[in-house]
Point group: C2
Chain length 457, copies 2
Amino acid sequence: MALDSVLARIDADLPQATERLLELLRIPSISTDPAYDAECARAADWLVADLRSIGFDAEKRPTPGHPMVVAHGDGPGPHLMFYGHYDVQPVDPLNLWNRDPFDPALEETPAGTVIRGRGSSDDKGQLMTFVEACRAWKAVHGSLPAKISFFFEGEEESGSPSLIPFMRENAQELRADVALICDTGLFGDNTPAIVTMLRGLLGEELTITGPSKDLHSGMYGGAAMNPIRVLARIIAALHDSTGRVTVPGFYDGVPELPEDIAAQWQALGFDHKEFLGEVGLSEPAGEQGRSALEMIWSRPTCEVNGIIGGYTGKGFKTVLPSQASAKISFRLVGTQDPAKIRQSFRAYVTSMLPPDCKVEFHGHGASPAGQMSIDLPAFEKARAALSDEWPNPAAYVGCGGSIPIAGYFKDVLGTDAMLIGFGKDDDAIHSPNEKYDLKSFHKGIRSWARILDALTK
Amino acid sequence: MALDSVLARIDADLPQATERLLELLRIPSISTDPAYDAECARAADWLVADLRSIGFDAEKRPTPGHPMVVAHGDGPGPHLMFYGHYDVQPVDPLNLWNRDPFDPALEETPAGTVIRGRGSSDDKGQLMTFVEACRAWKAVHGSLPAKISFFFEGEEESGSPSLIPFMRENAQELRADVALICDTGLFGDNTPAIVTMLRGLLGEELTITGPSKDLHSGMYGGAAMNPIRVLARIIAALHDSTGRVTVPGFYDGVPELPEDIAAQWQALGFDHKEFLGEVGLSEPAGEQGRSALEMIWSRPTCEVNGIIGGYTGKGFKTVLPSQASAKISFRLVGTQDPAKIRQSFRAYVTSMLPPDCKVEFHGHGASPAGQMSIDLPAFEKARAALSDEWPNPAAYVGCGGSIPIAGYFKDVLGTDAMLIGFGKDDDAIHSPNEKYDLKSFHKGIRSWARILDALTK
């Protein structure tokens, strides 16, 4: 059987595939630091050469920032577009790493073999799962089962400034029947997942000004408005006693979970005690009457991400500050409208100001929630293929964070995207000692081979 | 008349008195910076020499820190002890000064002549008012009207670590019938004041811990407890809607203002619009139904002096922080007990914690309010003497800040203290371009001559 030969080839080639990944991981392609610009270009060159070695028509394509890698391989079936990113996060604090982040290696751990190094999970290890699946397919069959394209960017960790312009300029070339994005995780050790709900994000920074300058609390305390108190009152008022957000109109467009998805989630047996226990917590702290999975996947939130005001150094200063500020973000779901919520939030905050206080707002990006088109046959095909590879069936899951790329494929190119990945919560992405399980890498490659097969049969 | 001759002498000697003050101001006696240790000693030496030149038995007395200056002069009447401090605040930011802070000079301003330089108002100019009054008295009469002592410290701006030990070790020598402290201000341009109520101070720092580490708000937002929200709720709950502090038992020991003092304050015609207008405010923000003067002088307060948590740099990070903390201070009045309030505050905060949250407290000093013994005849005598010198009658006023020295005289030595000074709100003490009005200096000297006369007649 065609697929079995490919899977066998993947198993046999795993040591070489791992060696190739280690080679890519040795390139310190940190996109946020201009000192590593040449390394980003080198990572792009490496990918171009590797894809060409499989027979792809691959190119490094310039942008005002780091280059894109675009590659095409002909085949009979539908057009599949694969997205990943070759840039990585900075590595500081370096002293918390147990080895040079760019001298990657296999390490034996109690939980199994891991590939340790910056970018192993986010996203070089993940993007290579798809490359290796194609390599094995080509090696066994001498051809690809479909028209397959690769689209790798080098600015994902620095806000993707060139992505949308590049997609617009090359829309015809990048448009596909389906986009496959490998930058997400497994649901559990043995349970693969397809992310079908992505929360949107709205960021707001507000600065409350009371007195025109910092005052001495002995001289003015009691008579002068304290902006920290005002800010605290505003933040406290953003949630009611049941944990619901009080911004007027906030829940417009927030859907209830469809019954089939609710059933899938129920079947996942998510253990919130374990999930929260890992970070020293025990009780879900969100809206009353909602499960922990709903709280992080399908319910909107309002969080304070930062607050500062007055004297915050060592010791004590009896200052009555002129200003206090906070960074607040909203995770959005369904059809919640970021622009409307921003407007409503600002009006609501302003309505709570006491006399003599001013507020200034600074917006920090706004993206609506994403909802994948799970009615497309490709979704159920991919879910079945994943379920064949892993011990437990695959689930459609939500993702609390924002992965804007899926929305860009849809909005800019009209291409539906599937988010499938093999990362794990303990991969320490963006942190010291990042790793990717060898099992994730191996079964990830096998998963893509199965999905390729399923989508092109 | 004896007093008139002294006042005439003061008027005639003003240029020389000013020159002496400028000499003292040229010594950069910054007590917080060890680089200026020798300069602190030099300021003490200068004072010793100057007091000896008037005939005082003056000595520089060592301490583990900067030296004290103690001087005695014999006379027939009661024993008057005069306190001031010769150390000054640091001068940074230096670029905001219009001249070298230690190259003092007279400057003409639209509001009159000022003595510009670090320490001119706090406290070298003020302490020299008393020295000059004694010099003039001695010059005219050849003797002092009372046993007069000086007690100058050089650590007031760095927390007075040697003060209480020195007072204890030299209690017999420093005990007096009344202590006169010149480190406060006028009520208004033409209205002198005797501070008779000093608010106490209780400082508390609290840190709320939720998750055991910083989390990604996409992954955990909604399900994990956010310590900034918890802290904001606690701070918001510290005051009720009428501005009263809600800590249980907080108002135990808070007295109502005696009617005669209330009448005096009413007569001051305090313009809260002007007071608050200078700092960009208009409405007193404290307890409903209290006047602005009550709010800053005779009512207790609870202020947040600093708050920090999460990401506070430029841009946005969707962190859900592990910790958030705040520095909170209470200004105390009457017989409010700092220890009891600390305990009650901590219990109250702890009672408001949701599940999965911890709080840690760190205390930052606690001093009860001070109430001067205005029933002593010296107070009314001094008030009458001040009223003779200035256009408007003198008032007994409160002071929102903490001036611990008055309490030390009472507690350590059993000596009642009077706080009389001639500083103004716009003197910019502790700030760039500190100044002392020449009028404050001149009429301050004359005021002390009148008070000496009144207390020894």
